[in-house]
Symmetry: C2
């Protein structure tokens, strides 16, 4: 892929979304800081995919709903689910949400095709910096359940999510694609998520029965409400960057002397989620 | 799948390999206990796939080679690599190993086909309790690089592995399939592996430069050398068990009212690795 000429970069500079070195700084209004007992986690929200879930989650965050709650269902290799296991904590923002499993692609979608077919979707690629799927027949787009995705937990009914969420901590749970309202992704602090206490391996439900044992959610804040001294300047690779294109090309052909078997040309997009870095300049 | 009649179970009882409830206890000679600074990890070795690697690893373990070393290269979402970063520690068992990336299937292989084609292999399934791939043309079989797989690290040369190993801690690194000598799998204690300290996200090499920061390998022992009071009776699902068959059938059709989108019939075998439990009876 050719690099974008400088005049084009300058002509389409827009608030926070463009960096000229292949990295972007997510918009502050879409960033959430979670202070867990295991460390700091930063999540980029995806209002383009699940606007109602993002809005309710942000209202809950502003209300302080999650502060002091915990990760009560943590299954190694699957998900860490947090929130209010008692369902008793009061809130003005816990109405059941209509499902937002997929969206109909708008005319200006920036979906960037990487692979077709994918083993679980007609197409996979990147969408506003997230690993995503697309069905060209129905025009649906959705976020892939790769490691680090954040979605609202729900009951069997599609429209039953309210407050509690999960983060995927294992192998991509792609069978959840198009079945859950995914509304964000961890872009910093996955080690803190991976350090959350798991349920005993023999407990199939994954619930940690003893509240005192559960890893704690100390606080959740919108970036705008985090003291500036505690902000971390996380950047995410731009999906259109030269580095991403090169990584994918290399992934398809394994064109490196380290690889003696050269693969079959396919790749697993969940392994090639866009990278993050902490910008210190 | 029908259950095996009792008389057949009784007639083929063999040392530790058969359980009549769908679970097996791995043979003690193939079990390794790692005491890490983050907890206890138990690995089942795979001598059927990589006999030379298993033999050298066991010799190194018996020698105490790994005791006091550390995890010096830990990349979140990829691998945790442990051993002797200095390459200076003396050992009688550090000769370079001939690659064992795949094996030619023996006539009595128990490879159990689950999916064909898989997105990165002609066939995937289970082999002696491990997630595996197979090429019916070449008769090759190999272990899939799913989370929790253990393999010897190496340089670019295929036959350059000696002592240091890695455990996969992220999304399946299937591009490493048929390129590494995989010789075991974590069957207990993945949370302790996931709790290992990662390198700073900005350090592309993944090396934790400061030795004092690295998570430690306190000791590695063959099960036979672990005091009986410290043994943990870990069992692994038998690949031929009714529970596994049912899980796979359900995975293909998502035949549960929780799922509103019913998938395309494919599954990701790395998500369906055989489960473990601690048998307390």
């Amino acid at each position: 892929m050719r690099k974008i000429p400088l005049y084009l970069i300058l002509s389409c500079l827009s608030f926070n979304l463009l960096a000229d070195d292949g990295w972007r700084t997510p918009e502050a209004e879409n960033l959430v800081y979670m202070q867990l007992s295991t460390g700091t986690v930063i999540i980029e929200l995806a209002p383009f995919m699940a606007p109602k879930h993002v809005a309710q989650f942000k209202s809950l965050v502003k209300e302080g709903f999650y502060d002091g709650l915990d990760f009560y269902r943590v299954i190694d290799g699957f998900v860490a689910q947090g929130g209010d296991i008692t369902e008793q904590k009061a809130s003005k923002h816990k109405a059941p949400l209509a499902a937002e499993f997929t969206r109909v692609a708008p005319a200006d979608t920036d979906f960037m095709l990487v692979q077709s077919p994918d083993f679980m979707a007609p197409e996979t690629g990147y969408l506003q910096g997230f690993a995503a799927g697309r069905d060209p027949q129905t025009k649906e787009e959705w976020l892939l359940h790769c490691p680090g995705i954040m979605a609202m937990a729900r009951n069997n009914e599609a429209d039953s999510a309210t407050t509690d969420f999960y983060i995927t901590i294992g192998q991509a749970t792609r069978h959840l694609d198009r079945n859950m309202s995914s509304f964000g992704r961890v872009i910093y602090g996955m080690p803190a998520v991976q350090a959350l206490l798991r349920a005993d391996v023999n407990v199939a439900s994954g619930v940690i029965e003893e509240p005192g044992q559960r890893s704690k959610i100390l606080s959740v804040r919108l970036a705008a409400d985090v003291p500036s001294t505690q902000l971390i300047n996380v950047q995410v690779q731009q999906q259109t960057s030269e580095a991403v294109t090169q990584r994918l090309t290399s992934a398809r052909t394994l064109d490196n002397e380290f690889f003696h078997f050269k693969g079959n040309g396919n790749l697993d997009l969940c392994y090639y989620q866009l990278k993050s870095r902490v910008h210190t300049q």
